[in-house]
């Protein structure tokens, strides 16, 4: 018998899960809180490690969706999910209620709010930008005027902003910022050949395929300088340049440098839109605040709530590739679960 599967979130994980579920006989409905699908991917320009075009990848994810299934509802925020008679009742902000046989949470993540790191002056000093804003600059090919006058420029990239930071309330590592920092540093050098780029890092977590090679390329081919040490504060000079204080742990000395722009590599934090859902269902969270699966190793897409599944970065920091694979696994689990439920 055809079931109703609701996917909360139309980002990469939601789209891929919908595509995987599309070949099943069930009715799939994507609830997307914005007016278009794509999640954070639609704001990205090029992806690590091979500078793949984010727009092309998004289009290919959307193309795999079978016609008319899934149905997509835009501007639909889920404010509550309740368990009811063996099903899940999904309540939307507009008042609509949907009776689902299974729900897949693919709600993604939020980027860390850089305002919280007051010492970095984001929102106060105009030349302090985030990795997200830098990606937008790459996408539209436009940079602040003071970087375009042809004079040599110095740009700093600050790793681990909002990650591995007790004071920011986030002990977890966001996993992807290191490689993002390397990628964006290379792109800066490509767009602004006159620039010198300095990456201030704690560790460089080059865990994936070709990540380490890209890091080597960044140093050897693009002359990017990597300084192991945290940035303690950023202040603005009278003409708008930025004074950055940091430690260089390798030489064991504090340092102070002046930059034309500072990029804050933002960490991943749990999506705030998931809070009403997890509260209404009593869904546990990990120590880092992400949605907790039933078992980290052998049931990473299932939860303690029958019929509720997780995919993608709503449960932990994942790369795009990992999110897509995770979504397929979640889709498989949903089909399996519905079959078992029917047989029982």
């Amino acid at each position: 018998m055809n079931k109703t599967i609701v996917i909360v979130g139309g980002g990469p994980a939601g789209l891929e899960a919908a595509a995987a579920l599309g070949s099943s006989p069930h009715h799939v409905l994507i609830l997307e809180k914005e007016h278009e699908t794509g999640g954070k991917l639609k704001n990205w320009h090029h992806l690590f490690p091979n500078f793949a075009d984010a727009f092309e990848i998004l289009k290919s994810l959307e193309k795999t969706l079978p016609l008319n299934n899934p149905e997509v509802k835009y501007d639909s925020n889920v404010c509550k999910i309740e368990q009811m008679d063996g099903k899940l009742l999904v309540l939307l902000n507009k008042g609509e209620k949907i009776n689902a046989d299974a729900v897949l949470l693919a709600t993604g993540f939020d980027l860390f709010d850089a305002h919280k790191k007051e010492e970095y002056g984001y929102g106060i000093y105009k030349n302090v930008v985030t990795s997200f804003e830098l990606e937008e600059m790459f996408k539209i090919g436009s940079f602040p005027d003071h970087l375009k006058d042809g004079m040599p420029k110095k740009i700093a990239m600050v790793h681990c902003v909002g990650s591995r930071d007790k004071k920011a309330g986030n002990l977890h590592c966001s996993k992807l910022c290191c490689i993002t920092g390397v990628k964006q540093a290379i792109e800066l050098r490509k767009h602004l050949p006159n620039s010198s780029v300095y990456n201030f890092y704690m560790d460089l977590r080059m865990y994936g395929q070709h990540f380490e090679e890209l890091y080597q390329e960044a140093q050897e081919d693009y002359g990017i300088t990597f300084i192991r040490g945290r940035v303690s504060e950023i202040a603005e000079n009278s003409e708008g340049s930025l004074q950055v204080k940091a430690e260089d742990t390798l030489s064991g000395r504090p340092m102070k440098m002046v930059f034309d722009m500072v990029v804050l590599l933002l960490g991943m934090t749990p999506a705030s839109s998931t809070t009403p859902i997890s509260v209404s269902l009593g869904l546990p969270r990990t120590n880092a605040g992400f949605l907790s699966p039933l078992h980290q190793h052998i049931a990473a897409n299932e939860t303690c709530i029958p019929g509720l599944f997780l995919a993608g970065t709503c449960r932990e920091p994942l790369s795009l590739q990992e999110s897509i694979t995770d979504a397929r696994a979640a889709a498989f689990k949903i089909i399996e679960w519905l079959k078992l439920k029917d047989n029982n």
Binding site: H115, E118, G121, Y122, G123, I124, N237, S238
Partner: protein, 355 residues
Amino acid sequence: MEQAGKKRIWGEYQKDIAEDHYFYVRSCIRQTFFPGSETTFLRILRDELFKDVFEDARHTTCTGIGYHTDIVPFETTMTIAARHFALMTEAGYVNFVPSCVTSFGIYTEILDTWKHFPEMEAKARDFLWTATRREFKVPENLSHTSDIIYKFRNQLAASSKHHLIDKNDGKPLKVVEHIGCHYAKMFPKCGIGGAEFPAVLSGMVEAWGGEVIDYPERRHCCGFGFRQYLIRANRGYSMSNSKKKFESMQPYQPDFIVANCPGCAMFLDRWQYTIAEMEGTTYNESGKGIPVLTYEEMAGLVLGYDPWVMGMQMHQISVEPLLDKIGIIYDKKDKYLGSKGQYIGVPQQPLFLLQ
């Protein structure tokens, strides 16, 4: 700089400041080096704002200097703080107002410790009872004296005689505001505006017509940290902190510096002389140094108080150029008269930073 961004942070760090009925405790350093400032604070509160301010001559040092140099253990400092709270309780007050920023930090730290470790409060009560047979209530409100002036800054502006404006060109005076480290760096939530962009002094400056300078080393310590200067061998390091600040603020050519910590005001004032003597370097266009004011002095000038009655003749950097800029009338003849009008003698003139 985006002021909206700063205001957003200020908005997140607001604190409850008592309206009236203050139990006031003095500062070792401020009494010694800026006695006129404490008198000015009391005059402002009592005569301008008609507030009830009580002080008990039996209160002592908070032992902050000793505590922060590992001479006085925390339990002792805690018990002395408890004794001050007992004096406050006996006098029937609940709002505790210290003059010194380090004291403010001490009391904040103690109250926070007691909140998280109630057994420490119990210990303090036990020690106090054993030593003095006194008991106390924890203050309902703990605010620094600069918080009080900040709270009433607009009211004071309404009755001001002068503004922080250069009378020669009508432009706001450029002011460097320096916040004592112990005000908000340890407990940002206890400082107006937090630790990164504190608003307690900038709020006063802007309310009274001045313009706040944001320079790169704004947050840096002035070097008054006790470990830095108590040991003679460390004093170069202490001075280097102030030097770093002066070098950073120099391009902005501030008209004066204002501080809410008595130690900071002393160091920023005195070290300019020392640096001038050692290196021949001064930090403003005139070569006479940047005047350094306590916030009480700043408030007093705005209200039209006599600078010599406030004790500003005791500053190392002469304040007359600043007074002239604001348009404050003062009598040079009265500069070295005592409280009874008697001539107390001119101090030895420094070799550098002469007016």
